[in-house]
Assembly symmetry: C2
Homo-oligomer: 340 residues x 2
């Protein structure tokens, strides 16, 4: 037959009622072992799979999680997405992926209310977006991963960006750097904000002044890091170290340095943020503050499942440490050399 067989078709074949077939499918204990075996055999012979839509409509559960993300081509986001996919599938959950860069706001708004997922994962919460508000208002369980919103009554799992940035700053200061560059982003979310603020705090605490001319605010692409490095390093007296708030920008900075003949780390140290896989590549060999992607995702999905199971539980905000991964872009060297 061209139409896929339904549980009713198979019930007839097995000589039982549709209800019994359904009970077998849901592992309902109230069914005679012999009957169960017979039905299972029929199901198997017919290569039957329950219609997920009908099941979802009846139970109200779709076993699907909606993920909102941006810039999938960015190395860190790709790793984050990969990890989310891994964890969800290990739990038997499907993933619907929405790229909020591509989807117009009204589309997203409609999607939120369609009840076609059991929960939402937001990875790119920003202060100037209403997405998280709308998601919460929809009544669908929601968790914020990677980026959080302070004070929002919503489960959140984020890295301790401020501390990670502080440690990076402290590390540079301790190595003797006093003329330090900061390539930063306009703070649209807590990540960029804290990665900026924590770093500044470390320098301030150490009494190292951050020259305004050493701070460059850019956009997200690699090319912007490239341009910033050229700008900073083509000065008469360029900074001896540059910290930036994403690995992607750091790669651009390394490239920019290469382009104008500045050597890393001899002429300038470079530190990124995210510790993506690529940071370990020979081309970059980048010191970077690590995002505990695995733990963030694992913890976040757990929180989401807990909330799906019990929507009224108190919200939980988890902050995970971001340790510094040291590599060749900041090879330690004598203090005097750094100051030179």
């Amino acid at each position: 037959m061209t139409r896929p067989p339904t549980s009713r078709d198979l019930a007839r074949l097995a000589g039982v009622s549709q209800a019994t077939v359904s009970r077998v499918l849901t592992n309902n204990p109230k069914v005679n072992p012999e009957t169960r075996a017979r039905v299972l055999q029929v199901l198997k012979d017919a290569n039957y799979t329950p219609n997920a839509l009908a099941r979802a409509m009846k139970t109200g559960r779709t076993d699907t999680i909606g993920v909102f993300m941006t810039r999938v081509t960015s190395p860190f986001h790709a790793e984050l997405l990969d990890e989310i996919g891994r964890v969800l599938s290990s739990m038997g959950l499907h993933m619907i992926l929405w790229n909020i860069e591509h989807d117009p706001e009204e589309t997203v708004a409609a999607v939120l209310q369609q009840r076609l997922v059991d929960g939402f994962v937001l990875t790119s919460a920003t202060y100037d977006s209403k997405l998280h508000t709308m998601a919460l208002a929809s009544g669908t369980p929601t968790v914020l991963l990677h980026r959080g919103i302070d004070g929002l009554d919503c489960d959140q799992v984020v890295g301790d960006n401020w501390q990670g940035a502080y440690d990076a700053g402290r590390y540079l200061v301790d190595a003797g750097h006093t003329d330090i560059g900061l390539v930063t982003l306009r703070a649209t979310g807590n990540t960029s904000r804290d990665r900026d603020a924590g770093f500044r705090a470390a320098l301030a605490d150490a009494g190292v002044k951050l020259k305004p001319s050493n701070v460059i605010t850019v956009g997200v692409p690699h090319a912007d890091g490239h341009a910033a490095a050229e700008k900073l390093l083509s000065r008469k007296k360029p900074p001896t170290a540059i910290y930036t708030i994403t690995d992607l920008l750091a790669f651009g900075i390394l490239d920019g340095a290469r382009a104008i003949g500045a050597h890393v780390p001899d002429d300038v140290w470079v530190i990124g943020f995210d510790n993506t896989d690529m940071a370990a590549w020979e081309s970059f060999d980048l010191t970077s503050v690590e995002q505990p992607v695995h733990a963030i995702v694992e913890t976040g999905i757990d929180l989401l499942r807990d909330r799906i199971a019990d929507p009224d539980r108190p919200t939980q905000i988890v902050t995970l440490p971001c340790p510094l991964a040291i590599r060749g872009s900041t090879a330690n060297r004598p203090l005097s050399a750094a100051k030179d």
Copy 2:
């Protein structure tokens, strides 16, 4: 009310039947303009969104496409995924993403029959996988993007990998190279096979011998390219050019070269395949055979929609050209130098 309002609730509010509300929602012309306006107002006031599951169950269409993919963290795959997401969302379609690396075979098999998507996009078809066979057997419209299966009666859109590889080989030969390295993958799909075979054919046609010791078969990660380059370039008489079948491996090769002090392109030329965004980065500046990602995806999704609309139309196989993007990793230089 805590439960989302249904069309029946709103029908009562508007003083019409549920059927009329439904007619308004589906833009059925057989409804009085005044009634339509009144209903629309009520819908808007209630901020109503139709239940996607119920609608899908009734119409048999979910407006969702299932995408099967691997290695999202690989630059090319990330670009492919991004493009697929862009195109689907521009058509108002949702995307369920399955990573066939993570999902066990039986999970995938079950998914294929659940009718929860209108169509499948397979981007990683391999000869030793049954995925494409199972997808076709499920009766759900399916298209193969990027990787194809020769002779399979299924819509396919692929790059002309063979020609692209041939052109790359020809380009090296024309530049005077005679001692050429090939870093290749075990041919699990048509891409790796053709990117290998086309290159070999170009050399053979030109009478340039490919030394067996110059051919290294590796795995997909960056590190494997790195290792291969070290192996090839640490010889007494290393090849003067290396071609490989993915950009990711090429990046590894560039890194490996850097690691042992070989200079690109003075000591060795390097050519990759995919022409990812990263190939243009200063660190790599990689000559690469371009995959027309945009055209592949756009064409592929069009084919898929056509097939959804008419399942019985003849299958179509589209092959798009893969031009060579030349960059600094193969800067042209005098022939004599190349031979030296």
